[in-house]
């Protein structure tokens, strides 16, 4: 036996001594690997911040902004305009804001249009909105008759702009957009019974925009060839009469998609005159949403109709929840096929009358929802028809502009009839209402979950803009008069970014 073999044999006979630290090392490694794995799973993986909600296209720029804009689309200029326009600027900041107002009449929409259809020259003038103050301007002054678009370029932020249009059939109000978008959605239009629906597309940028316009009707999808690749020149307004291509439809939803560039879209609905005449100005929504909020509606013998449009390619189940100050109604479910519209009328004995209620429309797919209000047949004060878009956002701070300012009402006798604050969330909201200009506290109250509080004329009458702050996100809507029924002229508030 060689020496190495004998040594190996000795080694084999010798018991293996444990290695010091082996167990500790192994345990340490395994503990670290497994333990951190457990911690990794226990600690929630941070998720990417969601895209900010576009706030209905009407958020108010922060007070310290470098610049901000407002785009008012859908009125008319000139003495012969169907809906004369007055714009109201409310400065929520503590510094005066200077700006430039550029007004532009759409070609071919009035007597001021040139024979070739090219627009007339825009007018530009400076505006100054005093600190914590308001201003009213008539953008159509000096312009030929025609559909009108106005762009305010401010050298600061904190200015909210809303517009009032008025004509022979009544009047309406709507907020002005503060953003452009490549897509806009509108619902609740009608070309039936002699109604007129006008779509206004404004391109304030320096490059031309090309848009596609599609209509969803109860009869199906209508895509007029003339509205595919529709050019909206830079800095120009294009006004289209929808009735030229979509005729006799009582419920029209409009989808505007820009192939290039960005636009602002609004629609002006004119219901046929006579017993049910009226006009309704609606700013489009830049997004579809799975939640829509209407702070207050009231059945007064007429009809409150919710128009739901599903521009998607899948069917959507929508649930309409109604909140009352002291109770809740049974929700209503609607199925909306893809690329179609549906309506729900609340005045057919389904909900209590003369009682304001809030409405929340939630769905498993993105929808566009608007509301039209028809006054009871015996109503005498025009307008008797009106429509407004719902809100897609909840916020804790709102500005509720009035349909005019003191000394410059949007229409004769214009006043704020009521202000509703709806809390669709699970927590009660502590709400403070102040005058936007003076800062004077108007009301302090609590809104129960899934309920609403309505401030009546005794509290908020007049032409005052109000600020609403809440402890939890709420939605706000004002109702203005004189009209044939509550809700005919109403407007959601304008939210401040959180």
């Amino acid at each position: 036996m060689t020496e190495s073999m004998s040594r190996r044999a000795r080694q084999q006979r010798r018991p293996r001594r444990p290695v010091p630290g082996r167990l500790v090392a192994l345990a340490g490694v395994l503990l670290a690997v497994v333990g951190l794995g457990v911690v990794n799973n226990a600690v929630a993986t941070p998720t990417a911040a969601p895209a900010p909600w576009p706030a209905d296209g009407v958020p108010i720029a922060p007070a310290g902004s470098f610049s901000s804009s407002a785009f008012c689309v859908g009125g008319a200029a000139g003495p012969d305009g169907l809906a004369g326009t007055t714009l109201y600027l409310t400065n929520t900041s503590s510094e005066a804001v200077h700006g430039v107002m550029t007004s532009q009449v759409a070609p071919g929409t009035g007597s001021g249009a040139t024979s070739s259809g090219t627009p007339g020259a825009p007018t530009t003038r400076t505006v100054v909105v005093p600190a914590d103050g308001q201003a009213a301007v008539n953008p159509g002054a000096g312009l030929a008759t025609g559909d009108l678009a106005t762009w305010f370029a401010f050298d600061g932020g904190g200015v909210a702009v809303n517009q009032v249009v008025s004509g022979a059939d009544g009047w309406s109000t709507a907020p002005c957009a503060s953003q452009t978008s490549a897509s806009w959605y509108l619902a609740g239009g009608s070309t039936a019974n002699g109604n007129t629906l006008t779509l206004d597309l404004y391109n304030p940028s320096s490059a031309p925009s090309v848009v596609d316009v599609t209509f969803l009707t109860p009869s199906g999808v209508i895509t007029p060839a003339d509205y595919q690749g529709l050019s909206v020149p830079a800095g120009q307004l294009v006004a289209e009469n929808i009735g030229d291509f979509v005729q006799g439809q009582g419920d029209i939803a409009t989808e505007v998609t820009a192939q290039s560039g960005q636009v602002v879209a609004a629609q002006l609905q004119q219901w046929a005159g006579g017993k049910t005449g009226g006009i309704g100005l609606s700013l489009g929504s830049p997004v579809t949403s799975m939640a829509w909020y209407f702070a207050q509606s009231t059945n007064t013998g007429g009809a409150v109709t919710f128009h739901l449009a599903n521009p998607g390619s899948s069917p959507v189940i929508a649930t309409l929840s109604f909140g009352f100050p002291v109770a809740k109604a049974v929700p209503v479910m609607l199925s909306i096929p893809p690329q179609s519209v549906a309506t729900y009328v609340t005045s057919s004995g389904r909900l209590p009358g003369q009682t304001p209620f809030s409405t929340v429309v939630r769905s498993n797919g993105a929808l566009v929802v608007s509301r039209t209000v028809e006054a009871r047949s015996g109503a005498s004060t025009p307008p008797k028809w009106g429509g407004s878009r719902g809100a897609t956002t909840l916020a804790t701070r709102w500005l509720v502009p009035a349909p005019g300012v003191s000394g410059a009402p949007g229409t004769s006798g214009a006043t704020v009839d009521s202000l509703a604050v709806s809390d669709p969330g699970p927590l009660a909201a502590r709400v403070v209402v102040t005058e936007a200009v003076t800062g004077k506290q108007v009301a302090v109250f609590t809104v129960a979950p899934a309920s609403l509080v309505v401030l009546g004329p005794s509290t908020i009458s007049g032409l005052r803009a109000f600020g609403v702050t809440s402890s939890v996100p709420v939605t706000v809507e004002e109702d203005s008069g004189p009209t044939g029924a509550p809700g005919v002229v109403s407007s959601t508030g304008m939210s401040f970014p959180s």
């Binding site: 084999q12 090392a25 895209a51 902004s65 901000s68 430039v100 452009t180 800095g235 970014p497």
Partner: protein, 1174 residues
């Protein structure tokens, strides 16, 4: 009786012959050839040979030369000394012809009509062993023997035949031919004179034959390395004192000389480039194999021949004058292909890579030792002998028997591994590399230097922050590659992969197991990390992957723990040997050869100048500093490309120290941490100007390590453990690496267990930090997880290798049981773990995109509207250049006139005025402006590019990594009234700024308008009020582009009108506008940070950057420091000597007697010390 035999003169060249000389002389005396005369040429022997010759061969003539002139030169003397001879028989002093040899040679010369006849050369002591039977040569001049070494003579070579070369030692040459050829080349002192003479004879049409019937015994004293060449013959600056020219070097240079001399123009131009390529490859292989003598021989051959090219040209003309055969006919007589390459390939296949070099190294080492002894015996002091560098042999540890792997298997394994990597990269290696993420093309090599040196960089809106030395490094590599910057990029990218694997093999080598080294190296190649880095475009991760094992090696050696403890001896010169031996774990560690120690002895014996010894002594005494410098240089090379490498080095050092909590030996392991910190300081000193620039950014300095990315994109713990942070290896199978790395913790004992524990400590530390950074829990510290995973991968694969070593060593005595089962599981796991990488190799481009944004956005470069900037917004990992953080995981950067190149990869740490661009974007995101274009216009931003992927996303074609931007960015950009979306593709959206203002613009007329436009409103942070102008009109009305020129220049010329010139570059104070009358135009600030110049008269102006003195001073500092460090590291005497001399004087002044260092200070007996020298 009168004889008719032609007279033959045997010319015996002798130099200090040994006792065999008498036998040599006797053999000539016993020749049966009547007309033989013997002429002994005494080539400056130490003792006169006349008496020795007279004693044995009284009829011989003796001619003594007092100065040694080399074999060729002295042999040529016979032309003047002898008259009437028909043949010369040139002989060494260590040959002994058989009695009938000369008459057989002459007989064959007549029979064959040969000009040169060679005998059969056999061994001196064993005539049955063949030495030479003629020699062949290939086209590169490489001589090949026709017999194998020690081949037994069975008569197999006894036929007379033509040969190309008659080997020296004993050669019969016809006198008229010899005269016609001009004799030997006197420049050839030894080794190669036979090739030269025979090649010229072939060209002259002479026939060369071998006559095997004539036999000559030969001792081969010189060629065999037994006898040293007279060092005086080498005093032609052929080599330096440290690395004297070797016999191999002589052979190589004379081969090359023959080629340059004997070929005609056509063949010379055809063959020399081939020789260059072959020599280049040979040099690289020799360096990789540690065969420095061969590498030096190749370099020396070219250097020597280039130095004497004029003489060679003259000799070539003489050769051509005698030409009778064309080169084509001569080539027929030569071997085909490369004899040296064929021989090497055969040896590699037979003995493996190291085996193929082992014999050569061993013989060189033996020759060196012998030469030293000879020199010492001769009493020649201070003169180098033809020895090889002592660094080469003995660098490897003694292998354990079980860990030995045959060379063929190792070669095959590496060939397969390399093939997988090459196949996996084939589309990238053969095509151009897509420009994405950090893989962007380098500018011209000269531009890289310029960007580094000039002191201004256009990143952002311009900065004077010192540039990173990475540009200089890229420039150096590009210069070495003859300006091929595309190749430079490939070398820098793909070179990291084999470099890392090589480092891993070396890291495991001290453990004495070739199998462990092999497995660890292959496992390191199989880790998905480098391929993910390729797929994601992470240059930094690749760099750390390549350098990681080398960093670990430095840190490990510094601990002095076995088996790296032996390496510590290198540093200490033996001082720590006892300390290393104290380690109980060192008992089973294979001993290392003490390379440096022995090297030091050898060099001392070779007569190193005293100053060098002083330098080495100083270095040895300051071993800590030396280790710091070595690692610091390595770290600096990494840090300039990926600054986070500094954190990695410190982290690894700390992890090694922390491992002592479980494994003990704190005092040793903490050295690694100190070394890491010290090396980081050294790296900072080496890059001091750049570091100062970084630190001047204050709190923002930390961003040099990386820009924070969204925490939602953080890799999970499991992903990190699997190294699957990219598309490659995104499979559960990659868990196998961590699983296999547990093996040494389970089975290992002694050093293997302890080092496995330290490896796991490193890996856990890196994983943990990467995980914490991903979660955003380390604040602003944002290091690319791939960078942190690189050392973790090195540590884990080292643990895998240790598992193999543990299996070999620690399972020897174990009975069969669960341990073998665990080993099997680990082996299977390792094999399984490589599968994802193998599968990913099939497509051939490692998921790297084929299309890039540079192609997509190439239209930007075609703009002729004047200089402009592009603002890039996206995740930092998407951008093609260095970027700054804009918050929320968004990064921003700029480029000029289109997409950036690699010079934009490293920007200044502090954004300076560029931060205003981020502020503007913030305002847009907040909804505080819808005129972002107007806010960006003063910086010349014409395009805003939003990137959400590293390359275009093309369905079914390529799916590059996508990194979303903050959700509010896109809507914010969309709603800007002066930003027009003009190009959208999956992964990129380009907005055109309709309000843009050229970088260099002019407004004619009164400056009042401009002043009003460029005036900065109070409290506006430099923003212009854009409300006065509608979108689409420039913020400065009437501004037109002027001073056009290429991007990123520092001088612009052009015509400008009278008025105001606006220049959007920073810092504005460093730019001057020289008007046509040579005066500087008055400058005023505009937009808060830019400049406006009032030009009174229209005309030609020049806008020029005027740097201060700091840039050139910083450049000078860095160049000097790097050159000094490089010189010290490679121990160049010309630079090291003055420093060492200074150190000597300092010591002398202090009159401090240094303590002797064992090993290093052991001087040969009789050699004066350096104090004695003084």
């Amino acid at each position: 009786m009168e004889t008719l035999a032609p007279p033959v003169v045997a010319v015996v060249v002798a130099h200090d012959p040994g006792p065999w000389f008498e036998e040599t002389l006797a053999s000539f005396g016993s020749q049966d050839y009547a007309e033989l005369s013997v002429l002994v040429l005494d080539n400056a022997s130490t003792q006169d040979l006349t008496a020795r010759v007279a004693a044995v061969l009284p009829t011989a003539y003796v001619r003594r030369f007092e100065e040694s002139v080399g074999y060729g030169g002295i042999s040529d003397e016979v032309r003047a000394m002898v008259d009437g001879a028909a043949y010369f028989l040139f002989c060494h002093d260590d040959v002994a012809p058989f009695p009938d040899a000369i008459h057989l040679l002459v007989e064959e010369a007549y029979r064959s009509n040969a000009g040169i006849v060679s005998p059969k050369v056999v061994g001196w002591d064993d005539p049955d062993r063949l030495v030479h039977v003629g020699m062949a040569v290939d086209k590169t001049g490489s001589v090949v023997d026709r017999v194998q070494p020690l081949e037994i003579d069975h008569g197999q070579h006894d036929a007379v035949r033509d040969v190309f070369v008659a080997p020296g030692g004993c050669t019969l040459v016809r006198v008229d031919l010899f005269e016609a050829l001009g004799g030997f080349d006197p420049a050839i002192v030894a080794m190669g004179e036979d090739l030269d003479l025979c090649w010229r004879a072939q060209v002259a049409g002479a026939r060369i034959v071998v006559a095997p019937a004539a036999r000559v015994r030969h001792r081969q004293e010189l060629a065999g390395g037994t006898r040293a060449l007279d060092p005086l013959l080498l005093s032609d600056r052929a080599g330096d004192d440290r690395h004297p020219v070797t016999l191999q070097g002589l052979q190589r240079r004379h081969e090359l000389l023959a080629v340059l001399k004997c070929y005609g123009r056509f063949h010379r131009y055809r063959v020399v480039p081939q020789i260059i390529l072959l020599n280049l490859g040979e040099y690289l292989v020799a360096v990789l194999a540690g065969n420095r003598p061969r590498a030096r021989a190749v370099v020396h051959a070219w250097g020597w021949n280039l130095r004497r090219h004029a003489a060679t040209r003259r000799q070539r003309k003489e050769v051509q004058a005698h030409r009778q055969l064309s080169d084509k006919e001569v080539r027929i007589l030569q071997l085909r292909g490369s004899a040296r390459l064929s021989s090497y390939t055969r040896r590699v296949f037979q003995f493996g890579f190291h085996g193929a070099h082992a014999d050569e190294l061993a013989s060189a080492e033996a020759a060196a030792g012998l030469a030293t002894a000879v020199t010492s015996t001769d009493g020649v002091e201070g003169v180098p002998v033809p020895a090889v560098d002592g660094d080469v042999p003995g660098a490897r540890p003694v292998l354990t028997e079980r860990g030995r792997v045959s060379g063929r298997i190792r070669l095959a394994t590496w060939v397969i591994a390399a093939a997988v990597v090459v196949v996996g990269s084939r589309q990238l290696l053969t095509g151009s590399i897509t420009s994405f993420a950090q893989f962007v093309p380098f500018p011209k090599w000269s531009d890289t230097f310029a960007q580094f040196a000039v002191g201004w960089h256009p990143s952002g809106v311009g900065t004077t922050a010192p540039a990173t030395p990475a540009l200089a490094v890229a420039g150096v590599v590009g210069t070495l590659l003859l300006g091929a910057m595309g190749l430079t990029q490939k070398v820098l990218l793909f070179g990291c992969i084999p470099l890392g694997a090589w480092g891993m093999v070396r890291l495991l080598r001290p453990f004495g197991s070739q199998r462990a080294s092999l497995v660890a190296g292959v496992a390191y190649l199989a880790v998905p990390l480098p391929y993910d880095a390729l797929a994601l475009g992470r240059l930094g991760a690749l760099a750390v992957y390549g350098g990681g094992p080398w960093v670990l090696g430095h840190l490990f050696r510094r601990t002095g723990l076995a088996p790296y403890g032996a390496a510590a001896v290198d540093d200490s010169g033996g001082a720590e040997l006892a300390g290393a031996g104290d380690e109980t774990e060192s008992v089973d560690a294979p001993p290392l050869r003490r390379r440096e120690r022995r090297s030091g002895q050898r060099r001392g014996a070779a007569g190193l100048p005293s100053e060098d010894r002083v330098g080495r002594r100083w270095l040895a005494r300051h071993r800590t500093l030396r280790a710091c410098v070595l690692l610091g240089v390595l770290e600096a090379l990494l840090v300039v490309f990926v600054p986070a490498a500094a954190v990695v080095v410190v982290l690894v050092g700390a992890a090694v120290a922390v491992s002592s909590c479980v494994l003990g030996q704190w005092s040793r392991t903490v050295r690694a941490m100190w070394l890491a910190l010290g090396a980081t300081v050294v790296a900072a000193v080496l890059c001091l100007p750049w570091v100062i620039g970084v630190l001047s950014a204050g709190r923002q300095s930390i961003s040099v390590f990386g820009i924070p990315t969204p925490t939602s994109e953080a890799a999970s713990w499991g992903t990190l453990l699997r190294f699957s942070v990219g598309p490659i290896g995104d499979s559960p199978l990659t868990w196998a690496f961590a699983l296999a790395a547990l093996l040494p913790l389970i089975l290992g004992r002694g050093t293997r267990f302890r080092w496995a524990g330290r490896c796991w400590s490193i890996a856990l530390a890196c994983w943990l930090v990467a995980w914490l950074i991903g979660r955003g829990w380390l604040g602003d510290l944002a290091i690319d997880p791939l960078v942190l995973l690189a050392p973790a991968a090195a540590a884990i694969t080292m643990a895998i290798g240790l598992g193999i070593a543990a299996f070999e060593e620690d399972l020897r005595t174990a009975t069969f049981g669960w341990r073998q089962l665990v080993t099997g599981v680990a082996a299977v796991a390792l094999a399984v773990g490589t599968l994802p990488m193998l599968l990913s190799a099939l497509p051939g481009r490692w998921e790297m995109p084929q299309n890039d944004f540079a192609q997509t956005l190439s239209w930007m470069h075609a703009s002729h509207s004047g200089g402009f900037r592009v603002l890039w917004l996206g995740d930092a990992r998407s951008l093609n250049q260095g970027s700054w953080s804009a918050g929320d995981g968004l990064a921003y950067a700029t480029s000029e006139d289109g997409t950036p190149d690699a010079s934009w990869l490293w920007n200044g740490t502090a954004p300076g005025p560029t931060a205003q661009l981020a502020s503007a974007v913030d305002l847009a995101r907040d909804g505080s402006t819808d005129r972002l274009g107007a806010m960006l216009a003063p910086a010349g931003v014409r395009y805003v590019v939003e990137l959400t992927a590293v390359a275009p996303v093309i369905p079914l074609v390529q799916s590059p990594a996508q990194y979303p931007v903050p959700a509010d960015l896109t809507p914010a950009l969309d709603r800007q009234l002066d930003l027009q979306p003009m190009f959208t593709e999956n992964g990129v959206t380009v907005f055109d700024n309709t309000d843009w203002l050229p970088e260099r613009s002019a407004v004619a007329g009164s400056s009042t308008t401009v002043a009003a436009a460029a005036a900065v409103p109070a409290g506006s942070d430099g923003w212009l009020p854009a409300t006065g102008t509608p979108p689409g009109r420039r913020v400065v009305p009437g501004a037109v582009s002027v001073l056009r020129g290429p991007a990123a220049q520092r001088t612009y010329h052009g015509q400008v009108p009278a008025g105001t010139v606006l220049v959007a570059v920073a810092p504005a104070g460093r730019w001057v506008l020289v008007t046509s009358n040579g005066s500087a135009a008055p400058r005023k600030p505009s937009f808060g940070w830019a400049a406006q110049y009032a030009v009174a008269q229209p005309g030609h102006v020049t806008l020029r950057f005027q740097g201060g003195p700091w840039a050139p001073l910083g450049l000078l500092y860095q160049v000097l420091l790097w050159v000094l460090v490089a010189a010290v590291l490679i121990e160049r005497r010309r630079i090291a000597r003055p420093w060492a001399r200074s150190a000597s004087r300092r010591w002398q002044w202090r009159r401090i007697e240094p303590d002797p260092i064992p090993g290093l200070d052991d001087e040969p007996t009789g050699e004066p010390s350096h104090e004695g020298d003084r």
